[in-house]
Symmetry: C2
Subunit: 373 residues, 2 copies
C-alpha cells in the first residue's frame, strides 16, 4: 500500500548542548507512520544515517521518491506500521527541517553558518528525547538505525535507559576509529578547500561549495560500497566507448557514477551540515575514553539486536562484536548476527530480506515481553 507521509514540525524553546552552549529555539522535522496504541507501548524511533532525513518511508508526494528505509518500514514490513507507531526525525545539525547551520539564528537574523555550535551524537539524542516526550511516549518499544543511526541507538540506551525497551544498532560502532575519523576529515577538508565555501558564509551568495562537497561525497560513496560490489557493478567497463580516449573525461563507468553522485548530492545537502554532522560522528565515543565499554552499559536495561555485514569495511564487524561482548559481560539480552553481503556499508539499506526477518522477530518478542512485564 503506497502512502504519502507528511513532514511535521515541532519547536522547542531551548536545547542544552554538550559543548556548554544552548540553542534557542530548536525546530525538529519528523514523520510518523502507523498509530500509537492506547497503552502508548508500540512506538519505535527510527534514527537516520549521515545524509538521511525524516522521510524514512512512504512516497514523497512532491518528488515521487520512496523514503530512505522504505523497504523496511510500512504495512507488513519489518517495522510494520499496521502494528507499530514509527517515528523518524531529522537530526540536529541537519538541513532537512531540523535546526542546523543553515537555519536562521534568531539573534542575528542570519544563518548560523559556522557560528552554529559543535554538536554531538548525545545532543542529537537529547533533542529526540524531547520529541518523544512531546509525543507523549513514556517508553519506546525500540530505537533502530544503521551507521550513524546505530550510534544514536546506542546513545539512547545509555542516556535514557528507562525510556527504551529494545535497541537495534546496525553497521555501527561504539566509537569512531582513526580510519573513520580520517575519511570524515578528508571530506571536511575538501569542502573547506573550496573557495566558494567562504568560511561557511555562502548562503547569501549565488555560489555554494559545490565542487568541494561533491568531492567529499565521492569519497563517501567509495567507502559505502565494497571492492566486490564495485567490481560487480562497474568493473573496468568504459562508458559509451570501446577504447580509451586518452583524455580526462569520465571514461570509466565508475568515474561517471561517482561524478554523478557527487553533483547530485550538492542539490540536497548543505556543506556546513556535512562539517557538523561528520564532526559529531568523530566525537562519538560511548566510553568517553574510559576504555571500558561494559562500564558504560552499567545502567542499561534494554534488550539488543546488533547487526553487521561481512563486506562492510567502513564499519567492520569487529566494531559490532566489541559492543556485543560488552553487553554480554553485563548479562544483557543481546542477539548478534553478521549477515553475508557483498554490498559493503550500503548493505543496511539494501539487504532487506534477512535483516527484515530478524528485526520483525526482535520487535514482536520485545512487545510480548513488555506486555508481560
Amino acid at each position: 500500500m503506497i502512502f504519502h507521509p507528511e513532514t511535521h514540525y515541532v519547536r522547542f524553546a531551548s536545547l542544552a548542548l554538550d559543548c556548554g552552549a544552548a540553542l534557542a529555539p530548536v525546530d525538529v522535522a519528523y514523520q510518523a507512520y502507523g498509530r500509537l496504541n492506547a497503552a502508548r507501548s508500540n512506538a519505535i524511533l527510527i534514527l537516520h544515517a549521515f545524509s538521511g532525513d525524516a522521510h524514512a518511508a512512504g512516497i514523497n508526494p512532491q518528488t515521487g521518491k520512496p523514503g530512505w528505509w522504505d523497504s523496511m518500514i510500512g504495512p507488513g514490513r519489518a517495522f510494520d506500521t499496521d502494528r507499530y507507531y514509527v517515528v523518524c526525525s531529522n537530526v540536529l545539525g541537519g538541513c532537512r527541517g531540523t535546526t542546523g547551520p543553515s537555519s536562521i539564528n534568531p539573534a542575528t537574523g542570519q544563518p548560523y553558518a559556522m557560528t552554529f555550535p559543535v554538536i554531538t551524537i548525545g545532543d542529537m539524542v537529547r533533542l529526540q528525547k524531547m520529541l518523544v516526550d512531546q509525543l507523549g511516549i513514556e517508553r519506546l518499544l525500540a530505537v533502530a538505525g544503521g551507521s550513524m543511526g546505530g550510534m544514536q541507538a546506542l546513545q539512547w540506551a545509555v542516556s535514557y535507559p528507562d525510556r527504551v525497551a529494545g535497541v537495534i544498532p546496525i553497521a555501527a560502532t561504539a566509537r569512531h576509529s582513526a580510519q573513520q575519523i580520517a575519511f570524515n576529515e578528508v571530506g571536511r577538508q575538501a569542502i573547506i578547500a573550496d573557495p566558494d565555501w567562504n568560511e561557511g558564509n555562502y548562503y547569501a551568495t549565488d555560489r555554494k561549495p559545490a565542487r568541494g562537497l561533491a568531492v567529499a561525497r565521492m569519497v563517501g560513496h567509495i567507502t559505502y560500497m565494497s571492492d566486490t560490489s564495485m567490481r560487480e557493478k562497474f568493473g573496468r567497463r568504459l562508458r559509451a566507448k570501446e577504447k580509451y580516449g586518452y583524455d580526462f573525461s569520465a571514461e570509466f563507468e565508475v568515474e561517471s557514477y561517482l561524478r554523478y553522485r557527487g553533483s547530485e548530492f550538492v542539490n540536497r545537502f548543505d556543506a556546513n551540515s556535512y562539517l557538523y554532522i561528520t564532526k559529531a560522528m568523530d566525537y562519538f565515543d560511548l566510553t568517553n575514553g574510559s576504555h571500558s565499554l561494559a562500564g558504560v552499559f552499567a545502567r542499561v536495561q534494554a534488550r539488543f539486536l546488533v547487526l553487521s555485514f561481512t563486506s562492510d569495511w567502513l564499519y567492520p564487524s569487529y566494531q559490532s562484536q566489541e559492543i556485543v561482548r560488552a553487553l554480554r559481560s553485563r548479562n544483557l539480552d543481546v542477539a548478534y548476527c553478521e549477515l553475508p553481503s557483498a554490498y559493503g556499508h550500503d548493505a543496511f539499506l539494501v539487504e532487506v530480506e534477512e535483516q527484515a526477518e530478524l528485526v520483525r522477530g526482535f520487535l514482536a518478542r520485545t512487545l510480548r515481553m513488555q506486555a508481560a512485564a
Copy 2:
C-alpha cells in the same frame, strides 16, 4: 656505509606512445648504484611507485634524506650493491627529472601542462627500455617494484620477455580495479576542483592547486595505511589537548597527520603529474580486456617472485594471487608469498626483514641460473 648518489640525465630524441602521439625529445633522470660486471649480467632495474623518484637508495647530499627504498638497496642489503648494478629512473610523466607535464614543450617554449599526451604504464616501460639499451645492458637480471612499480615489472615481462631474467612485482595488480580507479578519480577531481589548478595552467602563476593536491594526498594516505595501523599509530588521541575543543581545528592526531602529509606533498609533487600518472595506473590492464591473463603471459620467459601483504586493502592479495595462477598455468617458475603485516599498502616500503630475505634468495638463484644457462 653511507653513500651520496648523483642523479644522471639522458636525453632521447623521441618516444612513441600508446596513444599514437610521440614525445620529442624525452629526458630521463636516473640513479645507479654498484658496478656493472664485465658480463653485464648483474643489472637490476628498480621501478618506483606513484609518488617515488630516481632516488631509491643512499642519502641525498642536499636534503640529507634517504632514498625511498634505502632499507632494501645498498651494500649488503637485499638489492646488494656490492654484487649488483642497481638502476632506478623517474617515470615518464613524473616531476622529478623525467619529462612530464611540467616540462617545457620545445614546440611552444611553455610547459606542456594539459597538452601533455595521456601516457600508459607501457609507455613508461618503453622509455625505461631505451635507458637500459643506452646503458649497454642486454638482459636485466631483474626488474622489481612495489605498487605501480610492480605493474611496470609485469609490463616489462610481457613487453620485453627476452630482456629480463627475474621479475619481482610487490603489492601490485595485473589490472586496476573499479575501487582503485575510484580512489584515483577522487584525487583527480579534488585537484581539478581547485580553481588554482586553472585547467592545468598554473606554472607561470604564483599559485598552484595546493589545496586540491593536499586533499588528494590525504585520501591516498588513508588507502596506504590499514585500519589496524591507523588505530595503533593514532587511535582517538587528541593533539596537545585532553578534551574536545568543540571547534574545527585539527584536534585528533590523525587529522593533524593527514593535514601535514597533504601540505608537505604539495612542495614535492606536481598536480598535473598526479593526474597523468594516476590515469596511467587506471588504464593499466595487462589483458587489454581479453579476460585471459594466462594468454598475455604466453611469451614470458622470466622467473617470478610475487609478494603481497595481509593488511593491504588497496592492492589486496587476491590480485597478486590472480597473477600467480596465470603464471603457473603457463608452467612458469613463480614463488608467491603473502607476508603478514599490519602496515597496509605501505608494508612494501617498511616491512624490510622478511621481504629482504626473499628478494636476496631470489636474486642469487636467478644469477646462478643465468650463469649456468
